[in-house]
Symmetry: C2
Subunit: 205 residues, 2 copies
């Protein structure tokens, strides 16, 4: 482990810190981290320094701050990265939309349950089978997911996204989603736009 790059140890620190946090700990020393993960304490201290985490004597590190420093360093939780589920006509249009890239947003992966779409590229974006979604999203720490599946599949996909750690769902399916309070849903509703336009026109007449 000593010769493995920092970037491979950080995910390990992260899962350990998450479990420490869930057990009620708020601070931790590099020595404790080293002991739990069977890593040389000097390596742990150097890693924390490398990612800009500052500990206090005898107290150690504030766990949420250390987790944030890991996120920062790994580029995780980047709100400019999105995944999309449902690569049909609307999904492909969204993947192909260059307007997103121009503003710094990037769809980094697509998922679909249609076997003929697994393994293809749409506008340079890799499409994976839906059963790979939770795992990949967890590993990539993506926080925004786009739903572009038929309405009857939308809730099931939302549940998978929540399980995968997604915190923001951009929902294009005409179906009200049930999600935990910590997850935000942006409902895209094209029909409403058209009705608003019509009403505006009737008003003009």
């Amino acid at each position: 482990t000593f010769s493995a790059p920092l970037i491979r140890r950080l995910p390990e620190y992260h899962s350990y810190l998450e479990s420490a946090l869930s057990q009620g700990l708020t601070t931790i020393s590099s020595t404790a981290i080293a002991a739990h993960l069977n890593i040389d304490p000097i390596v742990v201290r150097k890693d924390c320094e490398a990612i800009g985490a500052v500990g206090r004597p005898r107290i150690g590190f504030d766990i949420p701050n250390l987790i944030a420093a890991i996120y920062e360093y790994m580029g995780w939780g980047n709100l400019d990265e999105l995944v999309i589920v449902g690569c049909g006509s609307l999904g492909s249009a969204l993947i192909g939309y260059n307007g997103f890239k121009k503003r710094g947003f990037k769809i980094i992966a697509g998922f679909d349950n249609d076997p003929s779409k697994a393994g293809i590229l749409i506008n340079g974006v890799s499409i994976f089978p839906i059963n790979k979604m939770v795992n990949l999203v967890k590993r990539l720490h993506v926080e925004i997911g786009i739903i572009a599946v038929p309405p009857q599949a939308a809730q099931e996909i939302a549940d998978m996204m929540v399980e995968a750690g997604i915190k923001g769902i951009w929902n294009f399916s005409p179906c009200a989603l049930k999600v935990p309070k910590t997850v935000i849903v942006q409902q895209e509703d094209l029909i409403t736009s058209l009705v608003i336009l019509q009403k505006g026109m009737k008003h003009e007449r």
Copy 2:
């Protein structure tokens, strides 16, 4: 002309009535219509009766009401009928979107300047070359147009739509359109939705 069906005479009445209106007339008798269009006055009177227009003795018909009765009878100005210009990835997705049909909205024609798209069918909708748009839209009396072309072409398409008599534009191109006050624009802005979602998520953190 006597044996031609009512439905072929009505467009003729309509253009004559429009020009009468633009000359400042507000009422007109079936006799005057008959004289101008070289049609038997009895036919004109029967036609007006057939479309539910009621005239007053010696005054004749209120022109706007007569025009409205023609619109009603012909099914013109039906706000549930739309045309779309730009049949690329977003345009095809919109044409393919069954959500519109379910709510009674119908895209009745598509237009594009890509020669390879002229004459094809997308989801049962005929695609025409863009140079046919103004004429077809005028004849069909469609009042809502969708713009799904690249932003640099959007204003030019909007101008054509206005010329064609379109009163409501649903604009998906990220480009602020200049239109007369009588035309309503519904601007669809996906980037803004994504930014709103992101802001909501940052607020949650």
